[in-house]
Every structure is written in C-alpha cells, then in structure tokens.
C-alpha cells in the first residue's frame, strides 16, 4: 500500500515566519502535489512536481514555494506566513502513466498562522 506521510498533523506558527511542510512517499512515485483545503472551496492545487528538481505552479502558487531535492520528498515553503494561509494542507503522489494513475494523499497538516 502506498504511504504518503506528512511530517506534522498540526502546526501553529506566527505571522512572518518561514514555514516548512514536509511530505514523504514510499512508492518511488515521480509525481508529487501540494493542495490546500478550505471550507466551501474544496481542494486547490498549489504546486506539483513531476521529477526531482522540477516544479510547476498550480492554481494558487502565490505566497508559496516548493523544493524537490529527492524523489521521495516534496516540501512546501511559506516564505513569510500570513493569516490567510491558515488551512489544511494535503500532499499527494502518483506514478507517471498515460492511463491516469490515481493520486495517493497523506492525512494532511492543519496549519494555523497567528
């Protein structure tokens, strides 16, 4: 079974801090994704990566950056956290396949910015 692990279930940070959210997958997947989930808005894609050191902007990349130095790890970075970045953050991974392999999600990090 695919395992996507997010380093923290709950995190509280202060405005202006640099915040790192870590995600590790154990299935040797090429593709990794970061979403945020907010009530009434569903899940929105922030960034994704289809290979080591590669990244692509999703629908809402502003205020975020990512790092993919190793295949199994994909980090989301909030350069200067703001209160509107309080949210549930979900990481996912998938294998590259033309027949649309499903994404496997972690259980999320609930981030509060005070």
């Amino acid at each position: 079974d695919v395992k996507v692990t997010q380093s923290s279930r709950y995190l509280v940070k202060r405005t202006g801090e640099k915040v790192f959210l870590e995600c590790v997958q154990d299935m040797d997947h090429e593709n990794m994704f970061w979403y945020r989930q907010d009530p009434g808005l569903g899940l929105r894609l922030i960034y994704f990566s289809y290979d080591v050191k590669m990244k692509e902007k999703g629908d809402i990349p502003e205020g975020y950056s990512v790092s993919r130095e190793k295949k199994e790890r994909f980090s989301l970075i909030l350069e200067s956290a703001s209160t509107n970045q309080t949210s549930m953050y979900l990481c996912a991974s998938s294998s590259p396949d033309s027949s649309n392999q499903p994404q496997h999600f972690g259980d999320g990090t609930r981030l509060s910015i005070l």
């Binding site: 090429e30 979900l90 996912a92 590259p96 649309n100 499903p102 259980d107 999320g108």
Partner: protein
Amino acid sequence: LAKTTQPISMDSYEGQEVNITCSHNNIATNDYITWYQQFPSQGPRFIIQGYKTKVTNEVASLFIPADRKSSTLSLPRVSLSDTAVYYCLVARTNSGYSTLTFGKGTMLLVSP
C-alpha cells in the same frame, strides 16, 4: 479542466444503494472521470475511475453514458462507515502526470 457539478449533500439509510450523479459538460477527449472519498481529518482516497461505459470494483460502480457529459457513482448497500464527502473530478493526463481539479463534493450521510 472541465468543471464538475454534483449535489451538495445526500441522505441515505444503511443497506440502501446510493447513486451520486455528477455533470461535466465540458469534458475533453483526454479526460478521465475519477471519484474520491474523504473522511474528516483524512486525505481523499481514490475510489474509482473510468473513461466510458461502466467500471466496477470491490467498492463501487461508475456509469458513464456515451456522451460522457455526466457520470454516476453507485455505492451498493451503504453502511454507516460510508458517511463521507465524495468528489467527482475529471483528470487530464499531460505526458505522464494528471492534474486534478476538486469541486466542493457531495456530503453523504448514512443513517441507521
């Protein structure tokens, strides 16, 4: 990506069959229809995926008409543990990865 429209909520009772219909009028030739399930405090979990006609697995069935502008997720004999949010999505493959656009989902409540 094609926008999807599905009911905000549905109610059912244990043992009943539940059908959740999703519309995706602007679906493109390369798009697949995918359904995910999400429990509180967990990430979404893949249920089923299809391109056309009917797909069945151990959890659910997916019915897709010929024009592919809608799809129906069918859950046979639901139990209390099927209470969750169900997301209908279209997924487009781009040279080895697919991007997903989640809508607001359907909150299914199963009662005893």
